[in-house]
Protein backbone atom coordinates (compact mmCIF):
# COMPACT_ATOMS: atom_id res chain seq x y z
CA UNK A 1 0.00 0.00 0.00
CA UNK A 2 1.25 3.44 -0.85
CA UNK A 3 2.25 5.44 2.18
CA UNK A 4 0.11 8.22 0.77
CA UNK A 5 -3.07 6.31 1.39
CA UNK A 6 -3.05 5.13 4.99
CA UNK A 7 -6.76 4.63 5.01
CA UNK A 8 -9.59 4.85 2.62
CA UNK A 9 -10.80 7.92 4.44
CA UNK A 10 -7.49 9.66 3.98
CA UNK A 11 -7.82 9.13 0.25
CA UNK A 12 -10.78 11.44 0.37
CA UNK A 13 -9.03 14.42 1.87
CA UNK A 14 -10.17 17.49 0.04
CA UNK A 15 -13.40 15.82 -0.88
CA UNK A 16 -15.12 16.37 2.45
CA UNK A 17 -16.55 13.04 1.47
CA UNK A 18 -15.32 10.44 3.93
CA UNK A 19 -18.95 10.09 5.00
CA UNK A 20 -19.74 8.69 1.60
CA UNK A 21 -17.78 5.59 2.47
CA UNK A 22 -18.61 5.34 6.17
CA UNK A 23 -22.19 4.54 5.26
CA UNK A 24 -21.19 1.38 3.51
CA UNK A 25 -19.51 -1.74 4.72
CA UNK A 26 -15.95 -1.48 3.49
CA UNK A 27 -15.54 -5.24 2.99
CA UNK A 28 -18.48 -5.31 0.59
CA UNK A 29 -16.88 -2.73 -1.62
CA UNK A 30 -13.52 -4.42 -1.50
CA UNK A 31 -14.93 -7.62 -2.95
CA UNK A 32 -16.09 -6.44 -6.34
CA UNK A 33 -14.34 -8.14 -9.23
CA UNK A 34 -15.60 -5.60 -11.75
CA UNK A 35 -13.54 -4.79 -14.84
CA UNK A 36 -12.70 -1.12 -14.60
CA UNK A 37 -10.99 0.61 -17.51
CA UNK A 38 -9.56 4.13 -17.49
CA UNK A 39 -8.56 5.93 -20.68
CA UNK A 40 -6.04 8.76 -20.39
CA UNK A 41 -3.07 8.91 -18.05
CA UNK A 42 -3.11 12.56 -17.01
CA UNK A 43 -3.97 13.93 -13.59
CA UNK A 44 -7.57 12.69 -13.91
CA UNK A 45 -6.97 9.22 -15.34
CA UNK A 46 -3.92 8.32 -13.23
CA UNK A 47 -5.73 9.47 -10.08
CA UNK A 48 -8.88 7.54 -10.99
CA UNK A 49 -6.98 4.31 -11.67
CA UNK A 50 -5.07 4.54 -8.41
CA UNK A 51 -8.13 5.44 -6.36
CA UNK A 52 -10.27 2.66 -7.84
CA UNK A 53 -7.61 0.02 -7.25
CA UNK A 54 -7.26 1.24 -3.70
CA UNK A 55 -10.98 1.19 -2.98
CA UNK A 56 -11.68 -2.04 -4.87
CA UNK A 57 -8.51 -4.16 -4.64
CA UNK A 58 -10.19 -7.26 -6.08
CA UNK A 59 -11.37 -5.43 -9.19
CA UNK A 60 -9.23 -5.37 -12.32
CA UNK A 61 -8.17 -1.82 -13.07
CA UNK A 62 -6.60 -1.09 -16.46
CA UNK A 63 -5.19 2.27 -17.46
CA UNK A 64 -4.81 2.95 -21.18
CA UNK A 65 -2.26 5.63 -22.01
CA UNK A 66 -0.30 5.89 -25.26
CA UNK A 67 2.77 7.57 -23.79
CA UNK A 68 5.22 5.93 -21.36
CA UNK A 69 5.68 9.32 -19.68
CA UNK A 70 3.45 12.15 -18.69
CA UNK A 71 4.55 15.78 -18.82
CA UNK A 72 2.58 17.87 -16.32
CA UNK A 73 1.12 21.15 -17.50
CA UNK A 74 1.14 22.87 -14.07
CA UNK A 75 4.53 24.60 -13.66
CA UNK A 76 5.33 24.11 -17.37
CA UNK A 77 5.15 27.88 -17.89
CA UNK A 78 8.22 28.09 -15.65
CA UNK A 79 10.01 25.80 -18.11
CA UNK A 80 9.11 28.09 -21.01
CA UNK A 81 10.58 31.05 -19.12
CA UNK A 82 13.82 29.16 -18.43
CA UNK A 83 13.17 28.90 -14.69
CA UNK A 84 12.69 25.14 -14.51
CA UNK A 85 13.80 22.09 -16.47
CA UNK A 86 11.38 19.98 -18.50
CA UNK A 87 12.56 16.81 -16.74
CA UNK A 88 11.01 18.12 -13.51
CA UNK A 89 7.64 17.91 -15.28
CA UNK A 90 8.02 14.26 -16.26
CA UNK A 91 6.19 11.46 -14.46
CA UNK A 92 5.78 7.77 -15.21
CA UNK A 93 3.34 5.03 -14.30
CA UNK A 94 5.59 2.75 -12.24
CA UNK A 95 3.84 3.81 -9.03
CA UNK A 96 0.46 2.79 -10.41
CA UNK A 97 1.82 -0.52 -11.67
CA UNK A 98 3.28 -1.20 -8.22
CA UNK A 99 -0.13 -0.55 -6.73
CA UNK A 100 -1.72 -3.21 -8.94
CA UNK A 101 -3.03 -1.14 -11.82
CA UNK A 102 -2.45 -2.72 -15.20
CA UNK A 103 -1.00 0.01 -17.40
CA UNK A 104 -1.39 -0.54 -21.14
CA UNK A 105 0.69 1.75 -23.32
CA UNK A 106 -1.54 1.91 -26.32
CA UNK A 107 -3.95 4.40 -27.82
CA UNK A 108 -7.69 3.99 -27.37
CA UNK A 109 -9.22 4.56 -30.79
CA UNK A 110 -12.87 3.68 -30.27
CA UNK A 111 -15.46 2.79 -27.65
CA UNK A 112 -18.47 0.53 -28.23
CA UNK A 113 -20.83 1.68 -25.51
CA UNK A 114 -23.35 -1.08 -26.29
CA UNK A 115 -20.87 -3.96 -26.20
CA UNK A 116 -18.89 -2.23 -23.39
CA UNK A 117 -15.54 -2.51 -25.14
CA UNK A 118 -12.63 -0.19 -25.84
CA UNK A 119 -10.70 -0.79 -29.06
CA UNK A 120 -6.99 -0.03 -29.05
CA UNK A 121 -4.74 1.04 -31.92
CA UNK A 122 -2.99 -2.35 -31.72
CA UNK A 123 -6.33 -4.00 -32.50
CA UNK A 124 -6.80 -5.35 -28.98
CA UNK A 125 -10.13 -4.92 -27.25
CA UNK A 126 -10.73 -4.28 -23.56
CA UNK A 127 -14.08 -5.21 -22.04
CA UNK A 128 -15.34 -3.05 -19.19
CA UNK A 129 -18.11 -2.94 -16.62
CA UNK A 130 -17.35 0.71 -15.89
CA UNK A 131 -15.28 2.99 -18.11
CA UNK A 132 -13.69 6.21 -16.93
CA UNK A 133 -12.64 8.58 -19.71
CA UNK A 134 -10.12 11.25 -18.84
CA UNK A 135 -9.19 12.31 -22.35
CA UNK A 136 -8.14 15.90 -21.67
CA UNK A 137 -8.38 18.28 -24.59
CA UNK A 138 -7.89 18.30 -28.30
CA UNK A 139 -7.55 21.36 -30.49
CA UNK A 140 -10.08 22.66 -32.96
CA UNK A 141 -7.65 22.67 -35.89
CA UNK A 142 -8.27 25.39 -38.46
CA UNK A 143 -10.72 27.21 -36.16
CA UNK A 144 -7.98 29.79 -36.62
CA UNK A 145 -7.51 29.85 -40.39
CA UNK A 146 -4.02 28.62 -41.23
CA UNK A 147 -3.41 27.01 -37.85
CA UNK A 148 -3.41 23.28 -38.62
CA UNK A 149 -1.26 20.45 -37.28
CA UNK A 150 1.64 21.51 -39.53
CA UNK A 151 1.73 25.03 -38.03
CA UNK A 152 2.75 23.92 -34.54
CA UNK A 153 6.46 23.76 -35.33
CA UNK A 154 6.62 27.42 -36.34
CA UNK A 155 3.94 28.69 -33.96
CA UNK A 156 3.94 26.31 -30.98
CA UNK A 157 0.84 26.03 -28.80
CA UNK A 158 2.68 24.51 -25.81
CA UNK A 159 -0.79 23.80 -24.37
CA UNK A 160 -0.02 20.10 -23.99
CA UNK A 161 3.22 19.87 -22.06
CA UNK A 162 6.27 18.08 -23.44
CA UNK A 163 8.10 18.73 -26.70
CA UNK A 164 6.02 21.81 -27.43
CA UNK A 165 7.02 23.30 -24.07
CA UNK A 166 10.70 22.92 -24.90
CA UNK A 167 10.17 24.25 -28.43
CA UNK A 168 8.59 27.49 -27.25
CA UNK A 169 11.43 27.97 -24.78
CA UNK A 170 14.04 27.41 -27.53
CA UNK A 171 12.36 29.97 -29.77
CA UNK A 172 12.38 32.56 -26.99
CA UNK A 173 16.04 31.83 -26.27
CA UNK A 174 16.95 32.09 -29.97
CA UNK A 175 15.10 35.39 -30.49
CA UNK A 176 17.21 38.56 -30.87
CA UNK A 177 16.80 41.28 -28.29
CA UNK A 178 14.26 43.76 -29.63
CA UNK A 179 11.96 41.06 -30.98
CA UNK A 180 8.21 40.85 -30.56
CA UNK A 181 6.55 37.83 -28.95
CA UNK A 182 2.87 37.44 -29.77
CA UNK A 183 0.51 35.15 -27.86
CA UNK A 184 -2.96 34.26 -29.14
CA UNK A 185 -5.47 33.41 -26.39
CA UNK A 186 -8.70 31.59 -27.34
CA UNK A 187 -12.25 32.18 -26.17
CA UNK A 188 -13.39 30.20 -23.10
CA UNK A 189 -13.75 27.37 -22.29
CA UNK A 190 -10.19 26.10 -22.44
CA UNK A 191 -7.76 24.11 -20.27
CA UNK A 192 -6.41 26.09 -17.30
CA UNK A 193 -8.29 29.43 -17.35
CA UNK A 194 -5.46 31.45 -15.70
CA UNK A 195 -2.75 29.61 -17.66
CA UNK A 196 -2.30 32.06 -20.53
CA UNK A 197 -1.89 34.95 -18.11
CA UNK A 198 0.63 33.11 -15.95
CA UNK A 199 2.53 32.31 -19.13
CA UNK A 200 2.36 35.95 -20.20
CA UNK A 201 3.75 37.03 -16.81
CA UNK A 202 6.64 34.58 -17.02
CA UNK A 203 7.52 35.32 -20.64
CA UNK A 204 7.54 39.03 -19.73
CA UNK A 205 9.79 38.14 -16.81
CA UNK A 206 12.16 36.37 -19.18
CA UNK A 207 12.20 39.28 -21.63
CA UNK A 208 12.79 41.85 -18.91
CA UNK A 209 15.72 39.84 -17.54
CA UNK A 210 17.33 38.61 -20.77
CA UNK A 211 16.00 40.59 -23.77
CA UNK A 212 15.01 43.96 -22.30
CA UNK A 213 14.31 45.68 -25.63
CA UNK A 214 11.76 42.98 -26.55
CA UNK A 215 8.09 42.92 -25.76
CA UNK A 216 5.16 40.56 -25.48
CA UNK A 217 1.82 41.31 -27.10
CA UNK A 218 -1.28 39.37 -26.01
CA UNK A 219 -4.04 39.00 -28.59
CA UNK A 220 -6.88 37.84 -26.38
CA UNK A 221 -10.33 36.69 -27.52
CA UNK A 222 -11.58 37.22 -23.97
CA UNK A 223 -12.69 40.47 -22.39
CA UNK A 224 -12.27 39.35 -18.80
CA UNK A 225 -10.24 36.51 -17.35
CA UNK A 226 -9.31 34.51 -14.27
CA UNK A 227 -7.46 36.42 -11.51
CA UNK A 228 -7.57 39.48 -13.79
CA UNK A 229 -7.06 42.22 -11.15
CA UNK A 230 -4.12 40.31 -9.67
CA UNK A 231 -2.45 39.78 -13.03
CA UNK A 232 -3.06 43.34 -14.18
CA UNK A 233 -1.60 44.70 -10.97
CA UNK A 234 1.47 42.48 -11.37
CA UNK A 235 1.93 43.54 -15.00
CA UNK A 236 1.65 47.23 -14.16
CA UNK A 237 4.16 46.80 -11.36
CA UNK A 238 6.70 44.47 -12.98
CA UNK A 239 6.32 44.58 -16.76
CA UNK A 240 4.97 47.97 -17.91
CA UNK A 241 7.49 48.10 -20.76
CA UNK A 242 7.38 44.43 -21.71
CA UNK A 243 3.77 43.35 -21.90
CA UNK A 244 0.73 44.76 -23.65
CA UNK A 245 -2.69 43.15 -23.89
CA UNK A 246 -5.33 43.63 -26.56
CA UNK A 247 -8.68 42.12 -25.54
CA UNK A 248 -12.04 41.42 -27.13
CA UNK A 249 -12.88 45.14 -26.92
CA UNK A 250 -9.91 45.71 -29.23
CA UNK A 251 -11.23 43.11 -31.69
CA UNK A 252 -8.16 41.07 -30.73
CA UNK A 253 -9.47 37.55 -31.37
CA UNK A 254 -6.98 35.95 -33.75
CA UNK A 255 -8.93 34.80 -36.82
CA UNK A 256 -6.08 33.66 -39.05
CA UNK A 257 -2.33 33.10 -39.02
CA UNK A 258 0.37 32.89 -41.65
CA UNK A 259 3.09 30.66 -40.18
CA UNK A 260 5.43 31.16 -43.17
CA UNK A 261 5.53 34.92 -42.68
CA UNK A 262 4.91 34.84 -38.90
CA UNK A 263 1.83 37.05 -39.06
CA UNK A 264 -1.25 36.83 -36.82
CA UNK A 265 -4.42 38.53 -37.98
CA UNK A 266 -7.21 39.78 -35.75
CA UNK A 267 -10.45 41.42 -36.82
CA UNK A 268 -8.58 44.71 -36.30
CA UNK A 269 -5.13 44.29 -37.76
CA UNK A 270 -2.14 42.15 -38.76
CA UNK A 271 0.60 41.61 -36.18
CA UNK A 272 4.09 40.40 -37.06
CA UNK A 273 5.80 38.11 -34.57
CA UNK A 274 9.37 37.01 -34.04
CA UNK A 275 8.07 34.30 -31.73
CA UNK A 276 4.40 33.29 -31.82
CA UNK A 277 2.55 31.17 -29.27
CA UNK A 278 -0.89 30.26 -30.57
CA UNK A 279 -3.22 28.62 -28.06
CA UNK A 280 -6.02 27.27 -30.26
CA UNK A 281 -9.68 26.88 -29.31
CA UNK A 282 -10.35 23.48 -27.74
CA UNK A 283 -12.75 20.57 -27.29
CA UNK A 284 -12.79 17.34 -25.31
CA UNK A 285 -10.17 14.77 -26.35
CA UNK A 286 -11.01 12.87 -29.52
CA UNK A 287 -11.94 9.58 -27.82
CA UNK A 288 -14.81 11.41 -26.08
CA UNK A 289 -16.31 12.20 -29.47
CA UNK A 290 -15.82 8.56 -30.56
CA UNK A 291 -17.47 7.26 -27.40
CA UNK A 292 -20.48 9.50 -27.88
CA UNK A 293 -20.07 11.28 -24.55
CA UNK A 294 -19.44 14.76 -26.02
CA UNK A 295 -22.34 16.98 -27.02
CA UNK A 296 -22.64 19.65 -29.72
CA UNK A 297 -20.37 21.98 -27.73
CA UNK A 298 -17.50 19.50 -28.11
CA UNK A 299 -17.42 18.94 -24.33
CA UNK A 300 -18.92 16.23 -22.11
CA UNK A 301 -22.05 16.73 -20.02
CA UNK A 302 -21.90 14.82 -16.72
CA UNK A 303 -24.00 14.05 -13.67
CA UNK A 304 -22.42 16.30 -11.01
CA UNK A 305 -22.74 13.68 -8.26
CA UNK A 306 -20.74 10.91 -9.90
CA UNK A 307 -19.33 12.37 -13.12
CA UNK A 308 -21.28 9.71 -15.01
CA UNK A 309 -21.88 10.71 -18.62
CA UNK A 310 -25.45 11.90 -19.19
CA UNK A 311 -25.22 10.56 -22.74
CA UNK A 312 -23.99 6.96 -22.25
CA UNK A 313 -24.46 4.43 -19.45
CA UNK A 314 -21.53 2.94 -17.53
CA UNK A 315 -19.14 5.63 -18.82
CA UNK A 316 -17.82 8.36 -16.55
CA UNK A 317 -15.93 11.42 -17.76
CA UNK A 318 -13.58 13.48 -15.59
CA UNK A 319 -11.14 16.34 -15.95
CA UNK A 320 -10.75 18.98 -18.65
CA UNK A 321 -13.12 17.20 -21.06
CA UNK A 322 -16.17 17.72 -18.84
CA UNK A 323 -18.72 20.50 -18.64
CA UNK A 324 -18.21 21.14 -14.93
CA UNK A 325 -18.26 24.94 -14.74
CA UNK A 326 -17.93 26.75 -12.40
CA UNK A 327 -15.28 24.13 -11.57
CA UNK A 328 -12.34 24.99 -13.81
CA UNK A 329 -10.44 22.75 -16.20
CA UNK A 330 -7.44 22.22 -13.92
CA UNK A 331 -5.16 19.42 -12.72
CA UNK A 332 -6.43 19.82 -9.16
CA UNK A 333 -10.06 19.56 -10.28
CA UNK A 334 -9.26 16.49 -12.37
CA UNK A 335 -7.57 14.77 -9.41
CA UNK A 336 -10.50 15.49 -7.11
CA UNK A 337 -13.11 14.53 -9.70
CA UNK A 338 -11.20 11.26 -10.20
CA UNK A 339 -11.37 10.44 -6.50
CA UNK A 340 -15.04 11.37 -6.31
CA UNK A 341 -15.80 9.31 -9.39
CA UNK A 342 -13.92 6.31 -7.94
CA UNK A 343 -15.90 6.51 -4.69
CA UNK A 344 -19.22 6.78 -6.48
CA UNK A 345 -18.39 3.84 -8.76
CA UNK A 346 -17.50 1.81 -5.65
CA UNK A 347 -20.79 2.81 -4.05
CA UNK A 348 -22.82 1.89 -7.12
CA UNK A 349 -21.03 -1.46 -7.47
CA UNK A 350 -21.68 -1.99 -3.76
CA UNK A 351 -25.39 -1.45 -4.27
CA UNK A 352 -25.62 2.13 -3.06
CA UNK A 353 -26.54 5.29 -4.95
CA UNK A 354 -24.24 8.27 -5.45
CA UNK A 355 -24.29 10.86 -2.68
CA UNK A 356 -23.77 14.63 -2.76
CA UNK A 357 -20.45 16.02 -1.58
CA UNK A 358 -18.42 19.20 -1.55
CA UNK A 359 -15.60 19.75 -4.03
CA UNK A 360 -12.78 22.26 -4.12
CA UNK A 361 -10.21 23.61 -6.52
CA UNK A 362 -6.99 25.43 -5.78
CA UNK A 363 -4.54 26.71 -8.30
CA UNK A 364 -1.48 28.90 -8.17
CA UNK A 365 -0.17 31.18 -10.90
CA UNK A 366 3.35 32.54 -10.92
CA UNK A 367 3.61 36.25 -11.70
CA UNK A 368 7.43 36.23 -11.63
CA UNK A 369 10.24 33.81 -10.79
CA UNK A 370 9.53 33.95 -7.05
CA UNK A 371 6.02 35.33 -6.66
CA UNK A 372 2.63 33.71 -7.12
CA UNK A 373 -1.08 34.34 -6.65
CA UNK A 374 -3.80 31.79 -6.04
CA UNK A 375 -7.50 31.14 -6.34
CA UNK A 376 -9.59 28.66 -4.38
CA UNK A 377 -13.14 27.63 -5.22
CA UNK A 378 -15.59 25.48 -3.26
CA UNK A 379 -18.42 23.73 -5.06
CA UNK A 380 -21.58 21.82 -4.18
CA UNK A 381 -23.22 19.20 -6.41
CA UNK A 382 -26.54 18.55 -4.66
CA UNK A 383 -28.78 20.79 -6.81
CA UNK A 384 -28.48 18.95 -10.09
CA UNK A 385 -25.41 20.92 -11.10
CA UNK A 386 -22.08 22.13 -9.78
CA UNK A 387 -22.40 25.46 -8.00
CA UNK A 388 -19.94 27.75 -6.27
CA UNK A 389 -20.55 27.86 -2.53
CA UNK A 390 -21.19 31.51 -1.69
CA UNK A 391 -18.61 33.05 0.59
CA UNK A 392 -16.22 30.09 0.44
CA UNK A 393 -12.83 30.06 -1.26
CA UNK A 394 -11.20 33.25 -2.45
CA UNK A 395 -8.34 34.99 -4.17
CA UNK A 396 -4.96 36.27 -3.05
CA UNK A 397 -5.29 39.85 -1.80
CA UNK A 398 -4.61 42.79 -4.08
CA UNK A 399 -1.84 45.21 -3.00
CA UNK A 400 -0.23 42.46 -0.95
CA UNK A 401 3.17 42.71 0.63
CA UNK A 402 5.80 41.02 -1.60
CA UNK A 403 6.42 38.53 1.22
CA UNK A 404 2.88 37.20 0.74
CA UNK A 405 3.51 36.64 -2.97
CA UNK A 406 6.81 34.88 -2.19
CA UNK A 407 5.12 32.71 0.43
CA UNK A 408 2.50 31.72 -2.13
CA UNK A 409 5.24 30.73 -4.58
CA UNK A 410 6.64 28.39 -1.92
CA UNK A 411 3.15 27.01 -1.23
CA UNK A 412 2.80 26.41 -4.94
CA UNK A 413 5.88 24.16 -4.87
CA UNK A 414 4.29 22.06 -2.12
CA UNK A 415 1.01 22.04 -3.98
CA UNK A 416 2.76 20.67 -7.08
CA UNK A 417 4.57 17.96 -5.13
CA UNK A 418 1.39 16.89 -3.33
CA UNK A 419 -0.73 16.84 -6.47
CA UNK A 420 1.76 14.95 -8.61
CA UNK A 421 2.33 12.46 -5.78
CA UNK A 422 -1.41 11.94 -5.45
CA UNK A 423 -1.73 11.22 -9.17
CA UNK A 424 1.54 9.44 -10.03
CA UNK A 425 3.19 8.56 -6.70
Amino acid sequence: MSPLYHSRRQLLQGLAGAALLSQMALPALAQTRARLVVVGGGFGGASAAGAMKHLMPAASVTLVEASPHYYACPFSNLVIAGLRELDAQRFDYDGLTARGVEVVHDRAVDVDSIAHTVRLASGDQLAYDKLVLSPGIDFLWDAIEGYGREAVERMPHAWKAGGQTGLLRQKLEAMDDGGQVVMAIPPAPFRCPPGPYERASLIAHYLKAHKPRSRLLLLDAQDSFSKQPLFEQAWAEHYPDHLERYGAADFARVVSVDPDHMVLTTEFDDFRADVANVIPPQKAGEIAQRAGVADATGWCPIDPLSFASTLQTDIHVIGDATIAAPMPKSAFSANLQAKLCAVQIARVLGGLGPEPTILTNTCYSFISNDAAVSITGVYSNDAGRLQSVEGAGGLSPLNADPAIRTAEALQAETWFKTLTQAAFG
Binding site: Y246, A249, D250, F251, F268, D269
Partner: protein, 106 residues
Protein backbone atom coordinates in the same frame (compact mmCIF):
# COMPACT_ATOMS: atom_id res chain seq x y z
CA UNK B 1 -8.95 58.17 -20.79
CA UNK B 2 -10.39 56.05 -23.57
CA UNK B 3 -8.36 53.32 -25.23
CA UNK B 4 -7.72 54.16 -28.89
CA UNK B 5 -6.21 51.79 -31.44
CA UNK B 6 -4.93 53.08 -34.79
CA UNK B 7 -3.56 50.96 -37.59
CA UNK B 8 -2.05 52.77 -40.57
CA UNK B 9 1.17 52.52 -42.57
CA UNK B 10 4.09 54.62 -41.39
CA UNK B 11 5.38 55.14 -44.93
CA UNK B 12 3.70 55.32 -48.33
CA UNK B 13 4.53 56.11 -51.95
CA UNK B 14 3.33 59.48 -53.24
CA UNK B 15 -0.34 59.23 -54.32
CA UNK B 16 -0.64 55.71 -52.91
CA UNK B 17 -4.08 54.89 -51.51
CA UNK B 18 -3.61 53.74 -47.93
CA UNK B 19 -5.93 52.00 -45.49
CA UNK B 20 -6.58 53.55 -42.07
CA UNK B 21 -8.21 51.67 -39.19
CA UNK B 22 -9.38 53.57 -36.14
CA UNK B 23 -11.09 52.18 -33.06
CA UNK B 24 -12.06 53.64 -29.72
CA UNK B 25 -13.31 51.73 -26.70
CA UNK B 26 -16.68 53.25 -25.83
CA UNK B 27 -19.97 51.69 -24.57
CA UNK B 28 -22.19 53.55 -27.13
CA UNK B 29 -25.13 53.34 -24.72
CA UNK B 30 -28.24 53.85 -26.86
CA UNK B 31 -30.55 55.51 -24.33
CA UNK B 32 -33.22 52.94 -25.19
CA UNK B 33 -32.25 50.35 -22.58
CA UNK B 34 -33.54 50.07 -19.03
CA UNK B 35 -31.72 48.81 -15.96
CA UNK B 36 -32.98 46.11 -13.57
CA UNK B 37 -35.13 48.71 -11.75
CA UNK B 38 -36.82 49.76 -14.95
CA UNK B 39 -35.07 53.12 -15.13
CA UNK B 40 -33.79 54.34 -18.50
CA UNK B 41 -30.02 54.03 -18.88
CA UNK B 42 -29.04 57.49 -20.15
CA UNK B 43 -27.74 57.81 -23.67
CA UNK B 44 -23.96 58.00 -23.84
CA UNK B 45 -22.65 57.99 -27.38
CA UNK B 46 -19.88 59.37 -29.50
CA UNK B 47 -21.49 61.52 -32.15
CA UNK B 48 -18.60 62.54 -34.38
CA UNK B 49 -15.32 61.24 -35.76
CA UNK B 50 -12.86 63.29 -37.79
CA UNK B 51 -9.56 62.54 -39.43
CA UNK B 52 -7.39 65.55 -40.22
CA UNK B 53 -4.41 65.32 -42.58
CA UNK B 54 -2.05 68.16 -41.75
CA UNK B 55 -5.04 70.13 -40.47
CA UNK B 56 -7.35 69.46 -43.40
CA UNK B 57 -10.35 67.23 -42.69
CA UNK B 58 -10.16 64.30 -45.09
CA UNK B 59 -12.71 61.97 -43.48
CA UNK B 60 -15.62 62.61 -41.17
CA UNK B 61 -18.34 60.36 -39.75
CA UNK B 62 -21.51 60.97 -37.76
CA UNK B 63 -22.44 58.28 -35.21
CA UNK B 64 -26.04 57.59 -34.15
CA UNK B 65 -27.40 55.35 -31.35
CA UNK B 66 -27.48 52.32 -33.66
CA UNK B 67 -23.67 52.17 -33.81
CA UNK B 68 -22.29 49.30 -31.70
CA UNK B 69 -19.92 49.59 -28.76
CA UNK B 70 -16.23 50.14 -29.51
CA UNK B 71 -16.84 51.75 -32.92
CA UNK B 72 -14.29 50.62 -35.46
CA UNK B 73 -13.86 52.45 -38.77
CA UNK B 74 -11.83 51.49 -41.81
CA UNK B 75 -11.34 54.11 -44.52
CA UNK B 76 -8.89 55.03 -47.26
CA UNK B 77 -7.04 58.15 -48.24
CA UNK B 78 -4.52 59.20 -50.86
CA UNK B 79 -1.06 59.84 -49.43
CA UNK B 80 0.00 63.12 -51.01
CA UNK B 81 2.58 64.47 -48.57
CA UNK B 82 4.35 63.65 -45.33
CA UNK B 83 2.65 64.84 -42.21
CA UNK B 84 0.38 63.83 -39.40
CA UNK B 85 -3.02 62.21 -39.30
CA UNK B 86 -5.02 63.47 -36.38
CA UNK B 87 -8.04 61.41 -35.41
CA UNK B 88 -10.58 62.71 -32.95
CA UNK B 89 -13.80 61.43 -31.46
CA UNK B 90 -16.37 63.73 -29.81
CA UNK B 91 -19.25 62.58 -27.62
CA UNK B 92 -22.74 64.05 -27.19
CA UNK B 93 -21.53 66.28 -24.35
CA UNK B 94 -18.61 67.71 -26.29
CA UNK B 95 -15.93 65.64 -24.58
CA UNK B 96 -13.32 64.50 -27.07
CA UNK B 97 -10.41 62.11 -27.40
CA UNK B 98 -7.73 62.09 -30.06
CA UNK B 99 -4.67 60.30 -31.40
CA UNK B 100 -2.02 61.26 -33.93
CA UNK B 101 -0.24 59.07 -36.48
CA UNK B 102 2.86 60.20 -38.38
CA UNK B 103 2.99 59.38 -42.11
CA UNK B 104 6.11 59.69 -44.26
CA UNK B 105 5.55 59.95 -48.01
CA UNK B 106 8.53 59.12 -50.18
Amino acid sequence: MAVIRISAPETAEKNEVIEIKAMIQHPMETGYRRDERGDVIPRDIITNFRCGYNGEIVFEAEFLPGIAANPFLTFYLRATHSGSLNMSWTDQDGQSWSATHALTVA
